[in-house]
Amino acid sequence: MQSLQRLPGVKTIGIGSGQSKPLIRGLGFNRVIVLDKGIKHEGQQWGADHGLEIDQFSVDEVEILKGPASFVFGSDAIGGAINIKRPPPPAPHSFGGDINLIGKTNNALLGTSVNLFKRTNKWFATGRFTLQDYGDYKVPTDRLYVYDFAVDLHQNYLRNTAGRETGLHFSTGYLGDTFRSTFYVSNTYSKSGFFANAHGLEPRRVDAALHDRSSRDIQTPFQKVNHFKVINHTEIRLANHQLEIESGFQNNFRQEYNNYVNHGYMPAIYPDSLNIPKNLEREFDKNVYSLNAKDAFQLGNHELQLGMNAEIQNNNINGWSFLVPAFDQKSLGAYVYDKLWISDRLLLHGAVRYDHIDLNLYRYEDWFQSPSSENGAPSYLVRADNMNRSFNSLTGSVGLNYNISQWELKANIGKSFRAPIAKELSANGVNYHYFSYEKGNPNLSPEESYQADLGVVFSSTKLRAEASPFFNYFPNYIYLNPTSDHDYFYGAGNQVFEYSQARVIRYGGELQVKYQPWENLSAEMLGEYIYAKQLSGDKTGYTLPFSPPASALFNITYKPIHTGVLHHTYLSVDYRITATQNNIVPPEKKTEGYSLVNVQAGTSFPFQNNNIQLSLQVQNLFDTKYLNHTSFYRLIGLPEQGRNLVLSLKIPFHFSKSHITEN
């Protein structure tokens, strides 16, 4: 996911140990969807402390959709979408595979991914197994201050950020001329530690000797995340209709383990009678059933697409700490998309979509008693009550593409939406990791976004330039507002963070210029800028949280042509300058600008009729100490990873006689 960061307009929210969440033009969490082989990936997107449950080795091609993409995907694609495409099937009559090896120096990561594939003419099967194991990661400092509390780091290791990941994938399918159907089954699992000295933002004293004994062990606090998925994609061609059906089942199971700490009014000693395991702080268990269907056909000079999406979710919770209640969700949407060719140069397109979402939230009571009023008798507080909400939404967009000689113009305006999530409607718990009492708002309306996008592209043989400005208006952006109050009963004395809605404007854009004076040398500049401002409510005048600072990336790539047995050889240097971010909103901190240098090099060479690919990256070449404004740990001033060498090797092999190289 972090490799996407190079793309202008795409950032990630770092959450430690190389894990991250996507941020498109400053919007993330439930405002960006990740589409995996046509099906919306559903984990715990709202949470700031775990990554995307996708095995990077299984990813072949990723497409980024910046801006509202709701009309194809429904709720949540209000900020954009990350589309992980279906990998192309193996070539006919092939039988082979490849072995990937990866090593990273910063967190001593070792990984491998082994892939096998076989295809007759119309039938194929593939299998993949991935294993990655990494130690605590290193930062360019030996002392941190969590609030004012000094934390000494043993040999620059960020205590307890080690982890391991496994991925298992299997696919099989039939590829006929008029009928194609493929099943994809996968399971990803990870176990990773949280930085021990600050669980969330809460300073914790730790047994340093225990943690520092090994940089590879995983002690508490840690999390386990398992994601199981079955997806089917079926395509039928009838006359001039192309019918596609995507169906899927997913189970996301996440557990957070921590030593019991009695916060607020929780009992000092964990009661034996409680049937929640003593170290299980949180558990989220989610089942998702999805179905998408669409029909694409030609009608005169109209290219039409009719489609529908349906999803059913069951969410259960466990653990001694409470943030979000259990809930069920059903959603159904339908759309029409039309592309109209006016001439060779001008394309008009438009879409209309209607969605209906039903949400059922379930009651949750504390397992311990708290005083419910000043000197009142203690009682079991109701943290969330049963609640039913339904949302309806009509969205759409219109746009045009126009080409003249070397110029291309794209313009689009549209409306997108997002239904409020369970946490926003009914959270009523203390998040001890943030010293906050998060209070949901049952009256939230679906968030709406109006956006205008422009794209101007110029391309010639040596130069390609693209500017993509956007303007975005939210009449009711849902925002977790830190108020000036503390709450004594439900909030156990913590600051009240209340979900509210505000008018928000956002604008900005990306600029990409690539200049290639010679065949073997190119230079590139990628720039981005975002501005956001709240126009109403308690935080009028403030920005939105996690606003990425302006940044520019300069790159020079050298690709020698005559290199003997070596092919695809390159050497590339990235220089990124990131501006200071002074535009903040409570509880953020201003973040100073920084510049970073990354170097990438690679080549491939033949070995027994196959091409072995070798690549080397040096990230943060000068071991620069810097803070990332969009990192989860920014508030406790945790610097980003120091210098990191990444070496990867891909060794393809083939069993069958016909020699076909796989991508």
Partner: protein, 161 residues
Amino acid sequence: MKRKQWIKNWLVASVALAAIASCSKKDSSIVDTEYPSIDVSASNSFPKQCSEIQRGQKFIAMIHVSDNKELGSLNVDIHHNFDHHSHSTEVNDCSLNPVQTPVNPLVLIKSISVPAGQTKYVAQQEIEIPADIDPGDYHFLIRITDKEGWQTIKGLSIKIK
């Protein structure tokens, strides 16, 4: 010809972005981005890091808080640190008692009212420590917000004897 076009393209693109960028400059300085502060070093501030408090007695907490614009709400929280879990935000550690198992530890969460419109305030709050609670290491956590929602936290290690 090529070169001219190249410059022109560059200009168009950068002017468009610059126009957008320049609009924002004036706004960011208007909003308040300053955190309130807690001064535990003032001479009459109490408790201080490593202060000792007696069971069965009252004491007066004296808390100095300030903000550049307007203070919000003030809150104190006393909870045990028998397991040495530590919220102390002070650099110097006090000598801690050995780890102990809580039986009847003190849990006290209290709001202290701050009059509206203040930028500086010295809160005085009488706090009574019951006689039957466990003695030992405790934390005294102070939380102050300002009107805009910025919060500052100070955690002090104290001993209840």
